[in-house]
């Protein structure tokens, strides 16, 4: 299945990615947020530190905040970002 990924704030800056299209193997499903983070963490040290390290990372699927065990479906827009600091 195909998904669209977005990164924001410190993650975008450190990973040097703002958005990407990603193909996830259906055979490895079901895909959760945690599983996707683990997959991305394999890209290298900085990815591991940003997504699976000490820093808090929040995730959204289709613009809704979700937990690590949320399931990702084909065509979803998934975003990773630090805890928010607006207002």
């Amino acid at each position: 299945m195909k998904i669209k990924l977005f990164y924001f704030a410190r993650l975008k800056e450190t990973l040097k990615y703002s958005t990407e299209d990603l193909e996830l193997a259906d055979a490895d499903g079901p895909w959760t947020v945690l599983k996707l983070k683990a997959l991305l963490a394999k890209r290298g040290d900085v990815w591991g530190q940003m997504l699976m390290g000490k820093l808090k990372v929040r995730a959204a699927i289709n613009h809704e905040l979700v937990h690590d065990n949320a399931t990702i479906a084909n065509g979803d827009e998934v975003a990773f970002f630090p805890p928010v600091t607006g207002g």
Binding site: F8, H63, P82, V84, T85, G86, G87
Partner: protein
């Protein structure tokens, strides 16, 4: 309900008057304005840059207003949040709530700010004499939001 995410400044007085004059059963308008400070964590701040997640930002602010309207008997809610680069004393956010009476409007306005600070996808980066840094989220903001959950539990 009105939600605006913009780089431009806003006129809080004008916006409050609009809410006030919109209906004759409005008896109270409560508003909050947040502005850029020139100090944070003991360091001088010369500039603040706000990033957001277009699309999700508007949806999350609308979802907060929907919750507020279900919880309190209020008339209307306006949220304006700026993004981009701002200087000390620049306005960041305006929340204004109109209602029949002050009590519910006060509570609703505070609830919007507590949820906005913990759920709406905005991130601040500040310029200090030692360079730029991302502002860290505060656990006191999470606590401020959580007390609304406790308040609703104790009512039941």
């Amino acid at each position: 309900m009105t939600v605006r995410v913009q780089t431009e400044d806003f006129d809080a007085g004008f916006e409050i008057n609009q809410l006030r004059k919109a209906r004759k059963d409005v008896g109270a308008v409560v508003s909050f304005v947040g502005q850029v400070r020139d100090i944070n964590e003991g360091d001088e701040v010369s500039q603040l840059t706000l990033e957001h997640y277009p699309g999700m930002t508007e949806k999350s602010l609308e979802a907060i207003i929907t919750q507020v309207k279900a919880r309190w008997n209020i008339i209307d809610v306006l949220i304006i949040h700026r993004v981009g680069t701002l200087q000390p004393c620049d306005q960041i956010v305006l929340v204004a709530v109109s209602g029949g009476h002050r009590g519910e409007a006060f509570a609703a306005c505070e609830f919007v700010m507590d949820y906005l600070k913990t759920e709406a996808p905005f991130w601040k980066k500040e310029a200090t004499p030692s360079g730029e840094r991302w502002v860290e989220a505060k656990s006191s903001d999470d606590d401020a939001r959580e007390r609304w959950n406790k308040a609703s539990e104790s009512k039941q």
